[in-house]
Symmetry: C2
Subunit: 303 residues, 2 copies
Amino acid sequence: MAQNFVLVIHGGAEDKTREDISPEKEAGYRKGLEEALDAGYQILKAGGSAIDAVEAAVISMENNPLFNAGKGGALTIKESHEFDAAIMDGKTLHAGGVAGVKSVKNPIKLARTIMEKSEHVLIGGDGATAFAKEHNLQIVPEAYFTTEEKLEDVKKQKQNQLKHTSKDTVGAVALDIHGNLAAATSTGGLTGQHEGRIGDSPIIGCGTYANNEVCAVSCTGDGESIIRGTVAHEVYALVKYKGLSITEAAAQAIRLYKDKIEKDRNLIALTPNGDIAMEFETELMFRGYRKGDEAPYIAIWED
Amino acid sequence: MAQNFVLVIHGGAEDKTREDISPEKEAGYRKGLEEALDAGYQILKAGGSAIDAVEAAVISMENNPLFNAGKGGALTIKESHEFDAAIMDGKTLHAGGVAGVKSVKNPIKLARTIMEKSEHVLIGGDGATAFAKEHNLQIVPEAYFTTEEKLEDVKKQKQNQLKHTSKDTVGAVALDIHGNLAAATSTGGLTGQHEGRIGDSPIIGCGTYANNEVCAVSCTGDGESIIRGTVAHEVYALVKYKGLSITEAAAQAIRLYKDKIEKDRNLIALTPNGDIAMEFETELMFRGYRKGDEAPYIAIWED
């Protein structure tokens, strides 16, 4: 098939209704999604790789203060920033992840550098920052990440006055013209989380997974629920062994063991055929996709 | 069925032949496995829970300098100790994990405390040590963990003279008389690993997984390969969706995508019926099990 390339992105899932987000802010989110989608799409259109496309889309959202990743990352209970991210190449099953890293401008670039330059898959904390410095990635002062909005959030959260705890994530899955799948996910974590808390994003099989034969998945939502449900790999299993379509698999995977795992699991997924799933249980998921010569699709709430 | 309770343990998998381990050391390993097996078995026999049994078995091996976990943990390239561990309750799908923690005598106790007392599943680095202190777990000086043998290993490794890099793990899976499954895994990591490297052990779905409906799994071997293969959850998927027996699922899971994931993946697994798998690709896996009124089984190499 000619020109079968697809990029799907998400900018997090939240329990905010249309009333909770101002028109100005909504316009900002839509613009941010468009920019991220375009950053990855242009790579795919030029014949570039899925792994380059997902990285570019995630970098775009990491640099945008509206999203809870990189620049706009949530603050921990200690009012510091700790980032989780992972990337996986569906062709080679190589992966790289970073957990609880500080001071690295683009955690997804560090995840990719770990995938390509380290014998390890996952590196955490100060060791991850050290690895970033060894490989000349951009280090920024703590102040770079501190937006007034997120600082206000953690202060309210400490007083139990925060209505919506930030638990967003950004992510992308892509299929390139060479038939390769890739997935990338990046987050600033939960507002007010315990120092050192690691969510699902950097965990292969939970928040991030890609395998050329089956699917690519990136999750967002309650990280603990996503880990306990091993959500990304559950989607893979339901497609591969139960023969479900990607939309059926996504719908089942986010609701599996619902009697035990109550909180929200949400995801985007993509198959080698270019079939897409964007499944969420929250009020909204910032999301979009663009396929071949089609126009871009951007959405926030259910249509 | 009456008295259907089972404990299965491993003390790591290595590429050492019978010639590589002295009869005295072999006797030490067998005694260590017997002690760990007994610590968990007595709990199950008295009607205790699977989660208590796997924790007790792992604590026994963490306290034994022969195994690469707790007391006998491998050293990082900086000659420090960093521990990974996780525990999962198959009944509730609750889980706790700790990544790259220092100074905590029994990392598996910390993992369990995170499962029970934290809203998080996984905590890493200094945040994990802080959490251990907040919950009065035993903190020990770095010197407690430093055995002469492991110090010698990392020095040889730096000179590329180490024949067998330590990448062992200890683990346990159990079925109690109430029909509950649990899994626990703990490790000192790889000899000479990069500071902050996190392996498969604390990753739910990779090194550790338990689900009453399907199986409990604990892995050991090359952590990066186990993560890339999402091995524990792959076993679950092959049993649940492909209908394989636990031995067939274990054998397939550790060899899946062998053209891409070359290094060794090894595991123990257990079903709600008490069926056992102990599958390894290395020369040896320190292992044992005890079922109901049967005598204990201990083995190192293939029989």
